[in-house]
């Protein structure tokens, strides 16, 4: 699976929510695009990830 541009391999079936938690993302401070489609947080648990997916996980940083 592609996560923020990097290829990783999914060890096991996992849903989006668990993946983010396992990888220490702060759910409250991120927004997620799965295959260029925004996923609302309420759906995180219902989305199963697989290796063909492309995931973008973004947050706020300082900017002018």
């Amino acid at each position: 699976m592609k996560v923020n541009g990097k290829i990783i391999l999914l060890q096991k079936d996992i849903n989006l929510f668990d993946f983010l938690i396992n990888n220490n993302y702060e759910i409250s401070k991120i927004a997620v695009e799965l295959n260029k489609k925004i996923i609302v947080k309420a759906e995180f648990k219902n989305i199963a990830l697989n290796d063909s997916d492309s995931l973008e996980i973004v947050t706020f940083v300082g900017g002018g």
Partner: protein, 255 residues
């Protein structure tokens, strides 16, 4: 005195918008306090996996967040970033930037107008960064922009109000709040813009590159207030080719 800045129905007492770039996170707060900031811009970027510190932890909750679409080169990219930004749950404000010029970072007014229309229809409060072209400003207004944010000079240049005469035209012709963004390098320039009737001023680099960030933040706050009061008062007339005494002629010297 009741003189609020109103953007899409929201009221603000501060007319100084802070850009949060180029600061170390632990300085942000003192800048906000010193400048009595009520609105601050943010950018979007890929999140790190480790629970590293996040800028949101450094910004008081009462501050209105204004995410920007920096990095967008087309209307489509800007729309994508705006939607992601809103998904972060910090409100509907978006500082729309579409830039595909790498040297001078000039905004693309055409793409910006397209993105404004899309985002306004999706309920965003769109504050587009723009090159101060009156015709483009009118089209941004028609497309649903909540304000227009013309540049004073190239981003980060601190060159000042190079576009001053044309910003005055925007103030004269556009009914939306005109907020000068980019290029303002000193408090006196912010003051001059406010004197001319712009609704607010945004700065980031001018403070981030100054010698003392806390002092300069305060300086901008005061200068923006000064310029606003001067605008509300009305400036004095300028005499072209003569002088006019400020004191009465001291008659007893005559004889």
């Amino acid at each position: 005195m009741n003189d609020k800045l109103i953007i899409a129905g929201r009221e603000f007492n501060s007319r100084f918008i802070l850009g949060s770039g180029k600061f170390s996170l632990n300085l942000i707060n003192s800048v906000i306090k010193n400048a009595d900031v009520e609105m601050i811009t943010l950018a979007l970027r890929r999140a790190n996996t480790n629970g590293s510190e996040n800028i949101l932890d450094y910004i008081p909750k009462k501050i209105t967040l204004l995410p920007n679409t920096s990095g967008a080169r087309t209307a489509a990219e800007a729309v994508r970033i705006a939607r992601l930004a809103r998904e972060l749950g910090c409100g509907d404000f978006i500082k729309l930037e579409v830039i595909n010029d790498s040297k001078y970072l000039m905004p693309d007014n055409f793409e910006t107008i397209k993105a404004t229309e899309i985002l306004a229809n999706e309920g965003f409060i769109v504050m587009p960064y723009m090159y101060p072209d009156l015709i483009a400003a009118r089209q941004l207004a028609n497309a649903g922009a909540a304000t227009i944010m013309p540049l004073g000079a190239p981003i980060g240049s601190n060159k000042g109000l190079l576009t001053f005469e044309f910003i005055k035209i925007l103030v004269d012709e556009i009914s939306l709040p005109v907020i000068v963004d980019a290029g303002i390098g000193t408090p006196s320039q912010a003051c001059q813009a406010m004197q001319a009737g712009v609704a607010a001023v945004m700065a980031n680099t001018a403070i981030a590159t100054s010698g003392n960030i806390a002092l300069m933040a305060k300086a901008f706050k005061l200068a923006v207030e000064a310029g606003r009061l001067a605008y509300l008062s009305g400036l004095g007339r300028v005499l072209d080719y003569k002088a006019e005494a400020s004191s009465p002629l001291t008659d007893f010297l005559e004889d």
